[in-house]
Amino acid sequence: MPALRKRVLVANRGEIALRVVRTCRVLGLTSIAAHSEADASLPFVREADEAAVLGPGPARDSYLAIGRVVEAARNARADLLHPGYGFLSENPDLAESVEAAGIVFVGPRAETLRRMGNKVTAKEAAEKAGVPVNPGTGKLRDALHAAGEGARIGWPALLKAAAGGGGRGMRVVESPRDLEAAFRTASAEALASFGKADLFLEGLVRPARHVEVQVFGDGEGRAAALGERECSVQRRHQKVLEEAPSPAVDAGLRARLCAAAAALAQEAKYRGAGTVEFLLDAEGRFRFLEMNCRLQVEHPVTEAVLGTDLVAAQLRLALGGGMPEFPPAEPRGWAVESRVCAEDPEAEFAPSTGRILALEVPRGPWVRWDGGYAAGDAVGPHYDSLIGKLICWGATRAEAIDRSVAALGRLAVLGPRTNAEFLRAVLDHPRFREGRLSTSFLDEEFPPPWRAPERDDGDRAIAAAAAWLALGGAAGNGGAAAAEANPTPWASLPGWRGHGGGGA
């Protein structure tokens, strides 16, 4: 009798859900995409073996609704639940409810998520494991409490959400004067993003690099450290470009970083894939920052330089296969990831929604595109702005950068505005090329407002537009008739029309 195919509920969306769905296929697992009504036609739903509707578009009614996710997993008779990143991926209540239903949560145990997902208790665990820790405060009651506690660690300091991630609910506080406003906005953002408003303060190291180590544990106390990633290129605490290895880490420092990260993962009896984040100062000293108890957005750069599949490793462990075999944590070549987002870099990176009218993805040796959308899909306002990740490998760092620049030049996303040109400008910046990075690199070298460099190809663009229009553009893709059937913001902007004619 053939063994029953195991069933995996994918409780996420976009590129990461698609990436999990595809790996399920490789491993012979049945994938079920649990999706919101707004996402029903996205590639991760279309490519999955089965689909289940969670609820309406807003995340709190779908991807953040624990009850609905668990119900979908039960109804789908899932054996495993993969939470992806963000949303409920680090939520101990989800992990607990899922396992109580007899379904394996592809991630750490709920108790680990409670301990390591909270930035305050995670620091205590790091201290116990002998890992150097960035000084910080406990949970803060209010701005006044923060002012008193902050005086201990000194100003400037970083105000952070205890349940945070992705830079949300985070503010640099230069002096106690800024605390009240920072506290108010950060706690509102933390509440909106994570459902918890708790904040704490920690020491701000400037200049510092953000370097993180990929770990993988078997849940029994065995853990491997799989090398580091450099994630210093950030805008408002959101990673923009990541790479592996770090240009600041040599074999000796790598060994020390990996030993510290592995010690923490062992102390936590960590299960599955996780990331230990460090601040690295100019002297090569590192301090523990936080642990991300899930797969990271930027995991592909580690996969590229190690030649491993971290999602397959997660699923194999969850299926009871024990600790997967990993290659030694010695990077082969270099990998760079560019996060392509639906945002307008010339308008302070405001999110840009709308339908993707045409999409061309670069292909070639050592070029990987992890995307969440296809032509015809709409990028809506409910979720984050990531359209896809471009990961390029090279034998050297320079080659990986050259490949990324060329591939971004061929990536065509027509519809929402994207940051692709900005990413190219950053990759081509001499300081990036030289690897002289810190978390303030973008603030220093690309202070807003950013303007795309002048080019003299306007006449060629007009000629291409004229040719396309003359050759039947009006009746072509996304023509006027289609646009009227699906009105877009651009076609119905009273404000802008009014500006020209005073009609609105």
């Binding site: 999110p351 929604t353 045409a358 000629a463 396309w468 404000g495």
Partner: protein
């Protein structure tokens, strides 16, 4: 196989006429001749060759908005029939920052905060409202010193990109007029 109309790129609106016969593009832009080019179109892809220089573009259109991807850059045009003249979104946005009497939502999302009341004087750069989408908050600021005339939205409201948030008139604060930045609270 002809087109006659206008293409606006934010800075200028150009009168364009073009025809393709036998795979050759001929036409004019504001009366000046376009370089004669061999052209081919396959779906969204346009290939041009003029004077030995090849251009490969990916083109898409949504309503009046025409997008041309060329070597990593998306050029935006507004297609007109040559009669109505209106600014392109990009040009409109830049112009708006300096002289529009209202603040518009920069994106489709939810208003999380309205920071001003009608009648209030605020300094240039003061927060008027905060809009959230895609988990990001975007602060809409006063482009210059203004007096708020009306507030069109409330916290919690869903707004489309371009929706009017706050209308105002030029403030001309005398040194002792209270503004949001220095008003006693």
């Amino acid at each position: 196989m002809t087109f006659a109309g206008t293409l606006g790129d934010g800075d200028a609106e150009r009168a364009v006429s073009a025809s393709v016969r036998g795979g050759v593009l001929r036409g004019t832009v504001d009366g000046r001749p376009l370089p004669e080019a061999a052209v081919e179109r396959r779906g969204a892809e346009v290939l041009l060759e003029a004077g030995g220089v090849r251009t490969r573009a990916v083109v898409a259109r949504e309503g009046d908005r025409l997008l041309v991807h060329l070597d990593g850059r998306v050029h935006e045009f507004e297609v007109g029939d040559g009669v109505r003249r209106r600014p392109s979104p990009r040009g409109g946005r830049r112009a708006r920052a300096s002289d529009e009497p209202r603040a518009l939502s920069p994106m489709t999302g939810t208003v999380v905060q309205v920071a001003v009341k009608p009648g209030e004087s605020v300094a240039a750069g003061a927060t008027l409202a905060v809009v959230e989408a895609m988990k990001m908050q975007f602060v809409v600021r006063a482009p210059r010193a203004v007096v708020v005339r009306s507030v069109s939205v409330a916290a919690g409201a869903a707004v489309e990109i371009g929706a009017v948030l706050v209308e105002f008139e030029d403030g001309n604060p005398s040194p002792d007029a209270p503004t949001r930045e220095n008003a006693p609270r």
